[in-house]
């Protein structure tokens, strides 16, 4: 039990299991195949959004433009398919590449101008949202290829096809931060930038790479959101800010940088998805989701601190 308590994400797992049991007992519809499919599908986009912010927290920075960037990629991809008739795969590739380029702009501006990354991404968020509105004039793109929309709604039993993408990304990210040199460099810079610089790590390059990676992840989230909704809505991404920070922080990431937990972030997204699902099942005012999410963040950071003191990390 002690060893389990030492794990940063132990509290979240207990929360998920307890919540799942309580929900299964109080609302029998919870365990139906369709509801579990809906629950799993709802976490696909959130998970990628959370990873997009987690990468930035790893390098000790923030990306406030995660939502605006994902929304821009969503309408670019949708616009290519609908207005220009570009086939599915090239359209997705161009959209994701645009996300990476937008992330590069964030990183380049942060490193080259010396303006705080928080302010840079706050300003580029406004810029990306402006391009989004300028392209769409606030009108969604509806005519998307049937195979693309089918992928967004398809399932094998309770397993959504959409979930393949975030699971794949999870494995790649885990390997990247555990084994790859650029991943280790990012965490080193997040942990202690001057020390990393003195050890021969290029801090600017690590920060720019993290921004590009964050942009790519937000872009994939945007594409998945289009597939899931079946249309490229200009409002995609406008509500991602809270969840992008909530999941990695609940999962145990440090805002100071250098410490991230992929498993913790994954479990936090599942827990948040479970809460949202519960609100629908027990027919509570949807405003409670927002309220509970705030309470959950506070409870999680408080619990993590308590745990850290008990275990002797502080």
């Amino acid at each position: 039990m002690g060893a389990f308590f030492r794990l940063q994400w132990s509290g979240i797992l207990v929360g998920i299991i307890a919540g799942g049991i309580a929900l299964a007992l109080s609302a029998p519809a919870f365990l139906s195949e369709f509801n579990l499919f809906v629950l799993l599908r709802s976490i696909c986009v959130s998970l990628l959004v959370a990873y997009a912010q987690m990468v930035m927290l790893g390098v000790g920075q923030m990306n406030l433009s995660v939502g605006a960037l994902g929304g821009l990629v969503a309408v670019v991809t949708g616009g290519l398919m609908d207005a220009l008739g570009v086939p599915t795969l090239p359209a997705i590739m161009i959209g994701v590449a645009a996300g990476g380029a937008a992330g590069f702009v964030n990183g380049w501006l942060t490193v080259r101008t010396g303006i705080n990354g928080f302010i840079v991404t706050l300003a580029t968020a406004s810029a990306f949202a402006g391009i989004n509105l300028g392209i769409t004039k606030a009108v969604p793109f509806y005519n998307l290829p049937a195979d693309f929309v089918a992928f967004g709604n398809g399932r094998v039993g309770l397993f959504p096809l959409l979930l393949i993408v975030p699971l794949l990304v999870t494995v790649v990210l885990a390997l990247f931060f555990a084994r790859a040199v650029p991943g280790r460099h990012m965490l080193a810079v997040g942990g202690n930038a001057p020390a990393a610089q003195l050890s021969g790590v290029s801090v600017p390059r690590a920060i720019i790479s993290a921004h590009v990676l964050s942009g790519l992840l937000a872009a994939v989230a945007g594409v998945l959101a289009v597939a899931q909704l079946g249309s490229a809505q200009p409002t995609i991404g406008s509500d991602w800010l809270l969840i992008s920070f909530a999941a990695p922080i609940i999962g145990g990431a440090s805002l100071a940088g250098g410490a991230i937990s992929i498993v913790g972030t994954l479990l936090a997204v599942v827990l948040i998805g479970l809460i949202q699902n519960a609100m629908v099942l027990v027919k509570v005012d949807p405003y409670w989701v927002q309220f509970l999410l705030g309470a959950l963040i506070l409870a999680a950071v408080w619990f993590n601190r308590y745990r850290a003191i008990k275990v002797g990390e502080i």
Partner: protein, 337 residues
């Protein structure tokens, strides 16, 4: 061409503080917009510009006082919406007199801010995380309690104050809107606080170096709780001004919309995100710059949909120009020394 006079002119423009640099950028923008679009200097446009910038200035102040300690308050907008709806509730549903309702609303803002500060100090968790969470708690709680129904039956005097003005209109210059006077009065109070009071110096000391401040006997925790309560009260003041301007209490007016302006005005104005440096005048000029760009682009009818793009790009450019100018001044001074 003799380069000497031009050089003295540029050095004159380039010398001086961030605030002076901002002022120059503002004047240039006003001249450009006035020449491109005659409507920019119309009485109507200037009046609406001043009334909206008054709210933005106070929103900027609400963020500035927390930035002074090196913290952040992401719940400025959430406290704002809570205050908007609470003021509407006090005036319309309870029928309290306007001064009592104003005092009650400011007290609610201070209380919510105090809760932020209390949570930050007691848990030792970063202010970013705490206020991100409390923003969600506050606005979620407000929506649960009000069901997001706006209150339109506010006392007529309250809305009238939002439209009123002080002093005579001279030529095409409109009279100064009362809301702008309120913003300037709050600014004066904050200027005195930071320049001439022990408490203000202590706040800046905590922001510059919390550990050193603690060693010097400054009650760091109490100072942090105080700035958060002050930030909440200022957010509530901005909410009251906005409610007066719109003559209705609507739940969708502040919230996320305040996030960008709350940071831009102080940061453009020279307040450091790392803490220890604030500029009341800079925050006023920063808010004016943001509103000028927005108003100018609207008057020029540069596609409404593209507006956020230009706003983001212009603001980055303004920060960059100011950075470049400051670096140039530093180089010049080093060369002369």
């Amino acid at each position: 061409m003799d380069p000497a006079p031009r050089r003295t002119l540029t050095s004159l423009l380039l010398r001086g503080s961030t605030q002076a640099g901002l002022f120059v950028i503002l004047v240039v923008l006003w001249v450009v917009f006035a020449n491109l679009a005659p409507g920019f200097l119309s009485k109507f446009n200037l009046n609406s510009l001043l009334r909206s910038v008054a709210v933005d200035i106070v929103v900027g102040f609400a963020q500035m006082v927390v930035l002074a300690t090196g913290g952040m308050n992401l719940s400025v907008g959430a406290i704002g919406v809570c205050a908007v709806m609470f003021s509407g509730y006090l005036m319309q549903v309870l029928g309290l007199p306007i001064p009592v309702a104003i005092a009650g609303t400011l007290a609610l803002g201070a209380l919510l801010g105090w809760l932020n500060g209390f949570a930050i100090v007691k848990t030792g968790v970063n202010s970013f995380v705490v206020t991100l969470a409390s923003a969600s708690l506050f606005s979620g709680g407000m929506l649960i309690l009000t069901k997001a129904v706006p209150l339109n039956g506010l006392p007529a005097e309250f809305g009238a104050f939002g439209k009123s003005a002080v002093g005579p209109a001279i030529g095409s210059m409109p009279a100064i809107p009362s809301l702008a006077v309120v913003a300037l009065a709050i600014g004066l109070g904050l200027y005195v606080l930071f320049k001439h009071s022990t408490l203000g110096r202590q706040i800046l000391a905590v922001g510059a170096n919390a550990r050193a401040a603690e060693m010097s006997g400054i009650p760091v925790d109490r100072t942090i709780v105080f700035v958060h309560a002050l930030s909440g009260a200022l957010a509530a003041a901005a909410a009251l001004m906005l409610t007066a301007r719109l003559a209705a209490a609507m739940p969708a007016v502040a919230g996320d919309d305040w996030l960008l302006p709350s940071f831009l005005a102080p940061v453009i104005g020279g307040t450091a995100l790392s803490g220890g440096i604030v500029s009341v005048v800079g925050t006023i000029l920063g808010a004016l710059l943001v509103s000028t760009i927005r108003s100018g682009l609207l008057v020029l009818e540069i596609g409404n949909f593209w507006l956020p793009l230009f706003l983001g790009a212009f603001l980055l450019a303004a920060i960059l120009v100011e950075r470049g100018r400051a670096a140039y001044v530093a180089r010049e001074q080093a060369r002369r020394a």
